[in-house]
């Protein structure tokens, strides 16, 4: 069983790490996931979990995962925006957990957007 005492150990460990990290002022990459009714129905929740999971597994500290509402393109959900510190935004459409992991590896970590999953590529096909 999980106990609140366990949190005390986590607290100690994390406090030590936070003090090390204070200097680190790198700007965050933002990952924004559409979580309106349409997004959730299309599978946004496992996509969000995959992002969180992959970011945790790679120990990425400067990535912020947030959510937004419906942007009016429900047929392309689940949609994800990746916004890099330089202000560039790339919109991915019809994302699934596998695509999410690839977006983390290629775009968030290495800075190369996964062109084939972007809204531009989807619109060209249509």
């Amino acid at each position: 069983m999980k106990t609140l005492e366990e949190l005390e150990a986590i607290r100690q460990k994390t406090l030590a790490r936070i003090s090390l990290r204070k200097e680190d002022k790198e700007e965050a990459v933002r990952v924004v996931i559409g979580m309106a009714t349409c997004g959730i129905a299309a599978g946004a929740r496992p996509v969000l979990t995959a992002f969180m999971d992959e970011i945790g597994r790679r120990h990425l500290r400067n990535v912020q995962v947030t959510q937004t509402g419906c942007v009016g393109m429900c047929r392309l959900e689940p949609m994800v925006d990746v916004i890099t510190p330089d202000g560039n935004k790339v919109t991915y459409v019809k994302v699934n957990p596998e695509k999410a992991r690839m977006i983390v590896a290629d775009h968030v970590v290495n800075g190369h957007p996964v062109t084939e999953y972007t809204i531009g590529a989807a619109e060209q096909q249509a």
Binding site: K2, I10, R11, T14, T37, I40, A41, M52, G72
Partner: protein
């Protein structure tokens, strides 16, 4: 929506948008298979006249378009099992959604991944609001409260720390399994 947990995530999004500081979700399974789900928030609430129309797909506060499907879909899924959706709200007082599902009805949706719904909510809103999950079945009771976790962690350590996230996920899975484990809803 494929399961109840997705509906609950969707309804909780309404509470988040209403700027709630506390969102609590209670699931209580009765002996006869009736499942009462109560979602309460202390957000801005709504006028009674709007609350009465909220289960209508063409009632929405959105200005971008004219439909809102969250509540109507949840209401439809409750009603087809012989249950209901009841909405109470007052401006400035928050909102309460009560869903009743008859889980033994053949059309009842499965419960789905309730821990994932909760962890999604908590982990994308690590600072505010607080979330409470209270679970009850004839066999057991369970509880999850981010206020307890915050208290134990102190002000310096946030819920977004990876170790805390893991703890939260495991705690939720454990609580849900203890209360509803082995039960096909």
């Amino acid at each position: 929506m494929r399961d109840l947990s997705l509906h609950l995530l969707d309804l909780a999004e309404n509470s988040l948008r209403a700027d709630a500081s506390l969102i609590s979700l209670a699931l209580s399974l009765q002996e006869d298979g009736a499942l009462d789900v109560v979602l309460e928030d202390d957000g801005r609430g709504m006028e009674q006249s709007f609350a009465q129309r909220a289960a209508d797909p063409f009632a929405t506060t959105r200005t971008t378009r004219k439909v809102g499907l969250g509540l109507p879909l949840a209401a439809a899924n409750a009603e087809k099992t012989g249950g209901f959706l009841r909405l109470d709200s007052l401006p400035g007082q928050g909102t309460r959604v009560h869903l009743r599902l008859m889980t033994r009805h053949v059309d009842c949706l499965p419960l789905g991944d309730l821990p994932e719904t909760m962890s999604t909510l908590v982990l994308t809103h690590p600072d505010r609001p607080d979330f409470v999950l209270a679970l009850r079945s004839p066999q057991a009771e369970g509880r999850f409260d981010t206020r307890d976790i915050r208290r134990a962690l102190g002000p310096e350590v946030g819920l977004q720390e990876p170790e805390v996230m893991d703890y939260i996920k495991q705690l939720l899975i454990e609580q849900c399994q203890t209360v509803f484990g082995g039960l096909i809803l």
